[in-house]
């Protein structure tokens, strides 16, 4: 078999004459200078926020990614089916989807949705891969806490079937029975198998309140 070689010619960089180049260069430099002087003379272009002075009025950008949340509808139902796609796709293993069998129907359902903020890079992959649109990134950026265990969140507010399956149940009381409450900082965490200890029960309520206020408002 004959091997055909193709001659590759490096593309020649087009250079004009010296004077043309010089005036081109000066022209493009002037273009840049026009832009910067526009910024200087128009203080409205400033994007800096005077935080924390303007903490009350500060509006975070919609696309700012600071906290993963799970959307719950007005009845408090979420749409997570515990499929674990987000868990598998997270590049840092920041997500642990703990599933369980429903005690009555025997179907797979979400027990705990654990998200570790301390290892999350806010890449948004989890939000994008979820086939049910369950996850949401919120702009609540004031995330400092005094104990790193508080970076481990349980995102779902109840363990139980997802919205679709819950709505199949007509009786409201029966629905309620299927939803077992979950605490935001309660439960086992992927921290060498330890559970969060040393925090009083009342602390959770308090933290949850501030957390809810921050994520909803």
């Amino acid at each position: 078999m004959e091997i055909k070689f193709k001659t590759l010619v490096a593309p020649e960089i087009k250079r004009g004459c010296l004077m043309g180049n010089m005036f081109n260069a000066l022209g493009s430099l002037w273009k840049g200078m026009k832009i910067t002087i526009y910024y200087l003379t128009h203080p409205s272009t400033v994007v800096t926020q005077q935080y924390p002075e303007n903490r009350e009025t500060l509006k975070m950008m919609d696309r700012f990614r600071a906290q993963l949340t799970m959307a719950h509808d007005e009845n408090g139902h979420h749409t997570c089916t515990a499929c674990g796609i987000c868990d598998q796709n997270c590049p840092n293993g920041s997500i642990n989807v703990v599933d369980r069998k429903n005690p009555i129907t025997g179907k797979k359902e979400l027990d705990r949705y654990i998200w570790r903020m301390d290892s999350c890079t806010f890449c948004n992959i989890c939000v994008q891969v979820c086939p049910f649109g369950t996850l949401e990134m919120k702009g609540n950026f004031e995330a400092s806490v005094y104990d790193r265990r508080l970076f481990v969140y349980t995102l779902n507010k109840y363990a139980g079937p997802d919205q679709k399956n819950l709505l199949k149940i007509e009786n409201l009381d029966d629905r309620k029975k299927q939803m077992e409450s979950r605490d935001i900082f309660g439960g086992p965490v992927p921290l060498s198998g330890q559970s969060i200890a040393g925090l009083e029960a009342g602390v959770f309520d308090q933290l949850r309140k501030t957390e809810e206020a921050a994520t909803n408002g």
Partner: protein, 358 residues
Amino acid sequence: MNWEIKTVAMFASEALREGYLGAAGYIILGVVAIAGFLAVLGMVLIYAERKVAGHFQCRLGPMRVGWHGVLQTVADTIKLFLKEDIVPFQADKVLHILAPLFTLLGTLLVLAVVPFSPGMQVADVNIGVVYVTAVGGFGVLGILLGGWSSNNKWSLVGAMRAGAQIISYEVSATLALLVVVLFSGSLKLSDIILSQEQGWWIWRAPVVGLVGFVIFFIASTAEINRTPFDLPEGESELTAGFHTEYSGMRFAFFFLAEFINMFIISAIAATLYLGGWMPFHIGGLDGFNAVMDLLPPGAWFAGKTSFLIFVLMWFRWTFPRLRVDQLMRLEWKILLPIGFVNLIAAAFMVMFGWYYGN
């Protein structure tokens, strides 16, 4: 109008007739004035630069210390005073300590001949222009010493780049200076200013003046290592270039020299091409000239110099940094030939008297 040039050096030589004490007093006054001016100007310039830079980039700049951050540089200076001064292990200690002083010395010495206004100048040397170019060379000596003595690769590369760059661009800057020397027929800064009573050289010498001014401005921007020619520092590749290993007060000296140099080249460019403290005059229009004289010469000098400083800042926060080969190409293949042609053209123009107000 008759301008009377008075300098501190003149007062000192007059006082010398009476005795040594008076002369010494004037000399001390001159030195203290320059030192105080240096410190205050440094702080003001750094604050201005940060503020202007902020707004050029859609930011606010310093906002916290004092009203709109006016005291920020004062706070920074205090911090630099209190910081530990580190001399790296196996560095050449003496040179390491001397280097920033050399750099600052060059700056200080030039400041002594800058004519602020007819009655405000420390010394009016009769070889002013030569003195400025010669003494300005101290700066590169300090940079080379600093880079060499730091015992650090980045410092050394930065210093060598600085050496190559400054020595190259000095040629163009000097050629551009000579144009004005040709036209005014004097090396003395005050004479050069007085020669512009009928108009500034930038427009009185058609085209040649403007080209000379542009070349001088570009070349001296490169000489003081300002962006877009800040290769010796080149944060992205050399950490901080020649002053990587400097901290505390010694770093502050380098920093201060850099900012004062910005003032100096603006002042020299204004003196040579824009008439220094000379108000805007058009030869023949006496009424117009009288109106222009209402503003004191000091204000004219301050206005011109601060405009040029602003342009330098504008350059810095707009243009990207050049590559080393582009830098050399710009000097040796573009600026230098143009500078030579410009100088020869200027010589002919002076010979035949082809300029305004002749």
